[in-house]
Symmetry: C2
Subunit: 164 residues, 2 copies
């Protein structure tokens, strides 16, 4: 019997953040929680960041057995300011990982798609459909952010080596 | 007699972070503290971010009268990863501003240079020399990060309108 791993996968965003908590024990993976946190778009970033931090601190208080955080590595597309804001949220998650002594998994978007669907350029729909096969009780997600968080937490559950 | 403003200026960086604390009372500005925080370059970012957070939390415990944080707005130059890491540290500072209910000042590098030296394209040496005129007791700074932090805190002290 191996130690259970409980992975909190997060797809951070300044308006919507998806999250998912998966438990892996003896290679069996089950989903404990998933959903999303909306942030008030009109509030100053420092307020949104405060809400974001408190949300995940409370989530970890509710699931104190979480062992790892799993994130996608970010890429700069066109908008440098969006990229920077994503950095703000990721910085807060690094802080939480440090404060709660959690391991960190990071995967590129391609690694996540490849691991989940077997195809590195899979569409969001293909990822969502494949997740439905793994977790038949999953209700259909209206937010891509939730699907992305479940996918990255699943990569974490399959991974053998956490950093941090 | 106006309420004193105490401004913590920070020039964040993943290896060296400069800071400065200025007090403004009745238009008179004095410098209470300045220096820099080195971060262990070889440690995982989450560890560095934890040290960074704890350092400024303790600094604010030592100077509980701080009313504002002053920062330079970041610009993307060539290195997207450095820009993202700067975002991590800024996110943590936004969190601290929210947790401690501090106002936030943000100035572009050009605004800082213009305010301090009267010239928006001033060199780092020009900024340092001008600061020496304002604060004759300032020992010469070996780190640009400290000079930059003092400059941005001075902009904060001169500013009338804080956000956040």
């Amino acid at each position: 019997m191996t130690e259970p791993q409980i992975i909190l996968g997060i797809d951070p965003g300044c308006t919507v953040t998806g999250y998912s908590i998966l438990k892996k024990i003896n290679q069996k993976i089950s989903i404990l929680d998933y959903g999303y946190l909306p942030l008030p778009a009109k509030k100053h970033l420092s307020i949104r960041i405060g809400i974001f931090y408190e949300f995940f601190i409370k989530k970890l208080d509710s699931f104190p057995e979480v062992t790892h955080i799993a994130l996608e590595t970010p890429f700069l597309h066109k908008n440098a300011q969006s990229f920077l804001k994503l950095g703000y949220l990721r910085g807060v998650l690094y802080l939480i990982a440090n404060q709660r002594e959690l391991g960190l998994f990071e995967f590129s978007p391609r690694e996540v798609k490849l691991a989940v669907t077997g195809y590195g350029n899979a569409s969001k729909e293909q990822v969502a459909k494949t997740l439905q096969l793994y977790f038949p009780n999953l209700t259909e997600q209206k937010k891509d952010d939730v699907t992305d968080a479940i996918a990255v937490s699943l990569c974490g559950a399959w991974s053998e080596n956490a950093q941090g």
